[in-house]
Every structure is written in C-alpha cells, then in structure tokens.
Amino acid sequence: MRNPLSKTIESIPPSGIRKFFDVVNEIEGAVSLGVGEPDFDTPWHVRDEGIYSLEKGRTFYTSNSGLKELREEICRFVKRKYDCDYTVSETLVTVGGSEAIDIAFRAMLDAGDEVIIPEPCYVSYKPCAVLAGGIPVVIDLKEENRFRLTREELLSAITERTKILLLSFPNNPTGAIMEREDLEAIAEVCREKDIFVVSDEIYSELTYGKEPHVSIASLPGMKERTVVINGFSKAFAMTGWRLGYALGPENVIKQMTKIHQFAIMCAPTTSQLAAVEALKNGDEDIKVMRESYDQRRKYLLNAFEDMGLPCFEPEGAFYMFPSIKRFNMSSDEFAERLLKAEKLAVVPGTAFGDSGEGFLRISYAYSIDSLKEAMGRLERFINTLS
C-alpha cells in the first residue's frame, strides 16, 4: 500500500504542548499550572444569551463571514478599545483565533514565501505557515529585550522572499508586550521593505501597564498591510465557544472568507449570538477578570522573588516565564523532575521554540489558593536543588 500521508504533514513535529500533556496525564493527582485558558466561567449574561438563542431556535447557518450584527459590534469594539477603523466588509468571524491564523497564511502565501516568526511563541504559527507552503524564519527573542522584537532583529531576518511578519503580543508564553514606540520601529521597517503583518492580538485585553494595548494596525500606513487576529476566548473567558475574528484589507478578508466558506461554512451561530452580548455589555467583566489576573501576577512575581527564581515582569496575557538557567538543566528535565518530585506540572519553555530553553511557562489562570499550593511545591523542589 502507498503511504496515505502527505510529506508536508509528516515533516511537521507534533505540538510541544501536546507532548508534555501526555507526560502529565500519566501522573495521577498532579497539580497543573499548565493551562492556556481562563479559569473564569463565561459571564452569565453571555451564557444566558446563548441559551436564549437556542430556545428561540436560532440554529441556522449565518452568512459565511458571520452575523452582520456581530461584525458591527466587533468594529465598534476595536474602535473603542484600540482606535482601529474597520468596516463589516473588512471583518471575518472565525472558529477561534486559530482558524484565522491558518486561513490568513493560506490566503497570503505562495510556495517559498518566507514568514518571520519571533519565538518563543504559541505553537501553531510555524505549522500553519508550512501547511500554507510558506517557509518559517525564526527570530529568537531575548530576555534582555524583555522578549520584545527589535528593529535590528527584524532587519537581520528579512530576505528578498520575506512576505509576512507574524507578531503575537501580548505574548504566550512570555507575557511580553510591545508598546507604541516598539511597534512604530517595526512598522517603519515593514513599510520600507513592503512586508505584511499578521498580528495575533488574542490577549489584547489582558495587559497590566498604565497604557492599554496598542494594535500595530492603528499606526499610520499599517492598516492596509496588516491582518489583525483576535477573539473571545481570553477577553471574555469563552474558549469552548470557539469564536474569533480577523480584520484586514478587504481583498485579503475576501480571500480568507473563500477558504473559510469551503472549509468551515460559518462559525457556530450560538456562539456568535452570545458574542454580540459579550461585546455590547461585557466591558465590566473584562475589567474584573483583568484585575484578578493582575493580582495573581503580582503574587507569583513576589513568590518567585522570595524563592530566588529570576523572572522578568510580564506585562500581558496570563503567563510567567521564569528563568531556570542557574540550575544547570534543560527546561524539559526541570519540568519532568518537578512533575515527578512534587506532582506539579508546568510547561517547558522549549515547547514554544528553541529560544524557550532555560525557561518555564507558568500560567496564572488559577485561584490564589491553587497558586499558593503550587508555589509551596515549587519552592520545596528548588530547595532540593541548591
């Protein structure tokens, strides 16, 4: 029998997160700081709206690009929050941000086009780029730059074939953000070198500094060369509803909609109707959740300091990325030994790229009580090392 599999898919390694998940799953009673989703339930008024839509029998397909009412609310939301001007025809509702990443690459890449991907980062960008025929070019972000992308790093990665720069800030796993000045320097290079940007801003509502999140699409001359990806999972604690969106130039959104139409048809109707409610009346929910994450972030920073675990201060998302370099072992080894000794699961930094070596991703999407318990375990483990 011939090999049923494509060479491309066989060439793609499985997700590092998945790999570690399988390890953790074998340990019974393990405490995990490994999740990448909020611990809050979706706000009740949002769930209620979903239930109501089912009661009313609103269970049909929506238009391919998503309910017009939802797209209008999305446009209002990004105007109000990030001063981005979009119309409904520049908006596509997707099945989570993940789908948007996939179809943005597929709509924009030809075989051999290069995609610059700063790492550490979420696990799907590289495989999606490869599946779309692109060639990932990785930039290793540095802790001394607080894991932000610099103009020099970007310039050194650009070639004749560079088509897209992928940005993911606030970042999973580092918690790094890019402020306006950082983005302006990057935007200037993109305009000069005629490079497009795919900007995954799924954590945009979870930043803890004085200034709110800045979208690169709001900078002069960038809207026409940027596809913004965002969604409801993190801001509104709606991971299981699988709902995201893409905003971009009309010609790109049109082609993305074509792929979306053939592959997906439309995002789930119940989720779309609930999301309208989230956007209309959810600002207070976001505020409450953000404050709670911020408290936990401060709690972990303090706990790390007390146990002598160096960690740069993350300013977004809900992850800490402490350095374990002084223990002279790999991230994998540290995570596995910690799991065996204390039954505490954290994700090795290397799951998010080679530059994650020497770091751990610790999620703080947990109650203070759970974090307290986990920090006790981590400290006991560290004390056995030194």
Binding site: I17, V24, G34, V35, K298, Y299
Partner: protein
C-alpha cells in the same frame, strides 16, 4: 486603597495583610495600618467563617421573620430594633421598605425552638403588631458563595 482591600478580604478573610499587600502591589505596613483603622472605625466589623451547616449532622433551623411594628415617637424603629437584636437567637435584623418593617434572621436548633422563640419572646414585645415566620429549607447561595458546590477544574491540564 480601602475599597480594594475590602473587595479582597470580603471574599477571603484569611488573607494576611502581607498577602493582600502583594496582590495589590502596595506596601505591607500601609495595608496593615489601613485594615487596623477600618477595624477601629467599624467599617470592618468582624471576620466570619462561611459554614455549610447542611453538611453537618447537627440539625439547625433557619428562619426569616417578617415583623410589623408600631414605631415609637422620637426614637422611631431604632429602639425596637435594639431590643430585638439583644437576643442571641437573632442572627440579623434589617429595616425594610415595603409591606413589613423588619426582616429578622433567626437560627435555632429546631423548627420548634424557633417557633417558640417567635411566639414567646418576639410577639410579646410591646411594639410588635404582627409576625410571619418563613423557614429556610435549603441555602443555595449565601454571601455570594454557592454552598456545597464541589468546584472541580474541568480544563485540560496542559493547553
């Protein structure tokens, strides 16, 4: 800062001043001093433990008594309220708007004990015109806390 401290300890009285300070990004001594001041000013009037007595073998009877009274000249409702709250059986007493005046929260060992208290002590007070006793059958949520709900993390452990 006061409101932030109160929001934190309202849901978790076990938080130490140090922990609250870390969570708020404030100085520990400042937070401790502020808590002390709020205790002195009676803004913080006590620290309670949330107990789900339903899960204990001891029987308890909770009741809400709606009471109509004749307010007294010069002292209004306050004087009567003070007489009522002296009884240790009275867990809480609120002055209400609407069709009755006081809502009184009672806790006793049995329904009979509560009923006898109402009949013998409460109803016989001079200014009380009428009482109506409602027994609590089950507490689902109290002080913002869902009782007896076993919170289980259903998220996949690594994602």
């Amino acid at each position: 800062m006061r409101e932030k401290i109160l929001m934190l300890i309202e849901r978790n009285a076990k938080l130490t001043a140090k922990e609250a300070a870390v969570l708020l990004g404030e100085d520990e001594e400042k937070v401790a001093a502020e808590i002390k001041k709020m205790e002195e000013e009676n803004i913080i009037c006590g620290y309670h433990t949330m107990i789900n007595w339903n899960l204990m073998p001891e029987e308890k009877a909770d009741a809400i008594i709606e009471v109509k009274v004749a307010p007294q000249r010069g002292v209004g409702f306050d004087r009567i309220a003070e007489r009522i709250w002296q009884y240790p059986e009275v867990e809480g007493i609120y002055l209400m708007s609407g069709s009755f005046d006081f809502a009184i929260f009672l806790q006793g060992k049995s329904m009979r004990e509560v009923a006898m208290f109402v009949a013998e002590k409460l109803s016989t007070l001079d200014s009380i015109l009428s009482t109506s006793t409602q027994f609590v059958l089950k507490k689902y949520k109290d002080h913002g806390v869902v009782m007896a709900k076993n919170e289980k993390d259903e998220r996949i452990s690594i994602s």
